[in-house]
Structures are given as C-alpha cells and as structure tokens.
C-alpha cells in the first residue's frame, strides 16, 4: 500500500521526523489529505473483498466541502500508482446544499448563499446535506473475474 505519511515534529517531545511534500503538491494540500483518506478506505475495503483490481470508486462530495474535483482526481491518481487501484476511475457526485425548516417542515435547496427558509425566511434552519465527504461504491475485479 502506498501512503504518503505526514510526519510532524513537536518541540516538547522527540520529533517523529519531518517530511515536506513535493512542491507540486503544495497547492493541493486539502485534496491530498482527503485523497489519502479515500485511498486508505478503498484499499482496505478492496482487500477485504479479495479484489485483484479496483476499477471504479464513486464518492459523494457536498458543495460546502470546498473540494476541487480536478485537484482531488489528480491526488487520487497519484496515490493510486503501484496499488491495485491504479487506473481506477474516480467518479465524484456533487451533493447540493439543502436546508430544513422546522417551522414549515419542508426542505429546500440553498443556492447563492441564501441560508434561510425559502418560504418563511426563518434563518434557524438545519443543514441536511452539502457537507458530504463519503465513499459510495467500489467496482472491483476479484478471483472470479
């Protein structure tokens, strides 16, 4: 399993080591961190299913999560190299931001930063979607293929 490990040193303890990411990854740090978590879950699920190859990974990303799809795909492909997920297709399903108003008992899409009920303009709404960072399904090839 290929993993880029974030080492960090602490002043009050013995440093674990110190490792800088390559310069070309600097601007993708948020997505890299998320891609690492995706890869860990994908590889452990694939291993459990005795997969020979991972063909496709479908993830859900909320509009509020601040994740750039292109950057995430770049980081995913980079981490997938030399693993059974190399060449796997990362499919990103964007989830819109939705709110729920308990006064009107209805839910609605939040667009253009209008974080209030579209019917009664109540601002005390619950966010019911839009923060997703979730792995949905994997498509794999196993011994039977």
């Amino acid at each position: 399993m290929l993993t880029i490990v974030v080492f960090y040193g602490m002043e009050t303890g013995q440093p674990d080591g110190y490792c800088q990411y390559p310069f070309y990854l600097k601007s993708y740090m948020h997505e890299l961190s998320i891609a690492q978590s995706i890869m860990q879950i994908v590889l452990s699920e694939a291993e459990r299913a005795k997969a020979r190859k991972v063909l496709k990974v479908t993830i859900k990303v909320g509009e509020l999560a601040g994740v750039l799809s292109d950057s995430l795909t770049f980081c995913f492909n980079l981490l997938a190299k030399s693993t059974i997920a190399e060449h796997a297709l990362l499919t990103i399903e964007k989830v819109p931001v939705r709110g729920y108003c308990s006064e009107c008992q209805r839910d609605f899409v939040i667009a253009d930063n209008r974080y209030w009920c579209t019917t009664c303009e109540n601002k005390h709404i619950e966010l019911i979607s839009g923060r997703e960072l979730q792995i949905g399904q994997l498509e794999i090839e196993d011994e039977t293929d």
Partner: protein, 225 residues
C-alpha cells in the same frame, strides 16, 4: 466485476479520534477552543491578549499549529503558559491525531482551558474536527467584507466570530455591517465580537463570553461526575 457498497465517511478516522479527544476533555473538565483564521488575521496576538486576561485565574495550555517554525510557540511561552508546537510539514490544517499526540505534553489534571491555534487557512481547518468545544473564527477587517460568503462552511460552524483590527476600519473600504449581516445569515446563533488588539478594545466582552463557556462546561463535568 463486482460492486461493493461502502457508504463510509471519508474523514471517519479523523472523527473517531476527535471523539476520543473530546471524551478526554470532558472527563478532565477542560474547555477547548479551535482558533481559525487566514494567515495574518491576528490569531496569535489575540491569543496573547486572551492569555494575559485569563492566566491569573485559570490554568491555560496552548497548542500551536503551523506549517513550519516555532515563532508562535516562542511568543506564547514568553507569557509563562505551557505550549506545544505542531509543525504540519506542509499540511494546511491540524488533524485530531496530531492533537491526541500533543496532549501528552500537558498535565491534563490541572488545565482549565486549552487553546488550539490552527494553521492559517479559511478552507481545510473547518473540515477536520479536533474534539474541541468551540470553533472560533477570527476575521480581520483588512481581509475584506466578502470572506463570510466566500468561505461559508467555516463561518457556519463557528460558535463565535471575532472581527479583529477594527481600529483600521477608517483606512479600509471594508463594511463591518456587511460582515455581520453575512455572518449571521450563515449562522444566526454566532456570537460576534469587534476587537482591536492594538487598542485593547472589545476584549473584555470576549473574555466574559469565554469565562461563561468554561464555567458551563465545568459545571456539566462535575454534574456528570
């Protein structure tokens, strides 16, 4: 070919450790703040002022998160408060596992308040829970009024918003009214403080708010045994 239903949160391992941290903080009755802002908004200066206001009555601890250097930890240490520096080595935010490890540097039995200064960044820190009681957002007026709507998640999740460097308002075209309107439309329950760490204004209201929060948590911890 076979399809596997995973349905798992990508950040679930961070969430699990954040929950462990939170349990430790509750057991020890420690109130924990996660300070977030863009670089240069005045997090460390605000932290220094907060320490000066509280260090005679409370036992404080500070975790400093930075990509590199121990400049901030050195500044905090000069106030006589225990501090640990985490260098993320390039990563743009702190994660719960880093905090768990950093906790070994503190005597948790005596701490009342632990302040975590996150890496300066308006995007990533909001996604990674650390086990804190409250996320606090600091926005300086020199950054402009457009920030709440550009970075909605961080403003949505923060319990308090500190609008800093208000002494510089006459020199900018930033509208304080617009910041407050947008921040409250994203987060109607957010507590807002207008501060200047240079002129020492607005800090007392922040101190009173914080003391009340700490008191509430401590009372709850005692009640829960």
């Amino acid at each position: 070919m076979k399809q596997i239903e995973v349905q798992k949160d990508i950040l679930s391992s961070n969430e699990a450790i954040a929950a462990e941290n939170s349990t430790i903080f509750s057991q020890k009755g420690i109130y924990v703040l996660n300070l977030m802002s863009s670089p240069g908004a005045g997090k460390t200066t605000l932290l220094e002022r907060t320490i000066e206001l509280l260090k005679n009555t409370l036992h404080l601890g500070v975790i400093e998160g930075d990509i590199a250097t121990s400049y901030d930890a050195d500044r905090i240490r000069a106030h006589g408060v225990p501090v640990t520096q985490i260098n993320t080595g390039g990563a743009c935010h702190l994660e719960s596992s880093m905090i768990k490890k950093a906790l070994t540097a503190f005597d948790l039995d005596v701490l009342d308040l632990l302040i975590i200064e996150n890496v300066g960044n308006l995007v990533c820190p909001a996604e990674f829970n650390l086990g804190e009681d409250a996320k606090i957002m600091i926005l300086s007026v020199t950054e402009g009024e457009d920030k709440p709507l550009k970075y909605p998640l961080m403003f949505r999740l923060s319990r308090a918003l500190i609008i800093n460097k208000v002494d510089l308002l006459p020199h900018t075209n930033c509208s304080l009214k617009k910041i407050i309107e947008d921040a409250t439309s994203l987060n109607p329950d957010v507590s807002i403080f207008e501060t200047s760490c240079t002129h020492m204004t607005g800090l007392n209201a922040w101190k009173v708010w914080l003391e009340k929060e700490i008191h509430t948590k401590r009372t709850r911890s005692i009640a829960d045994g």
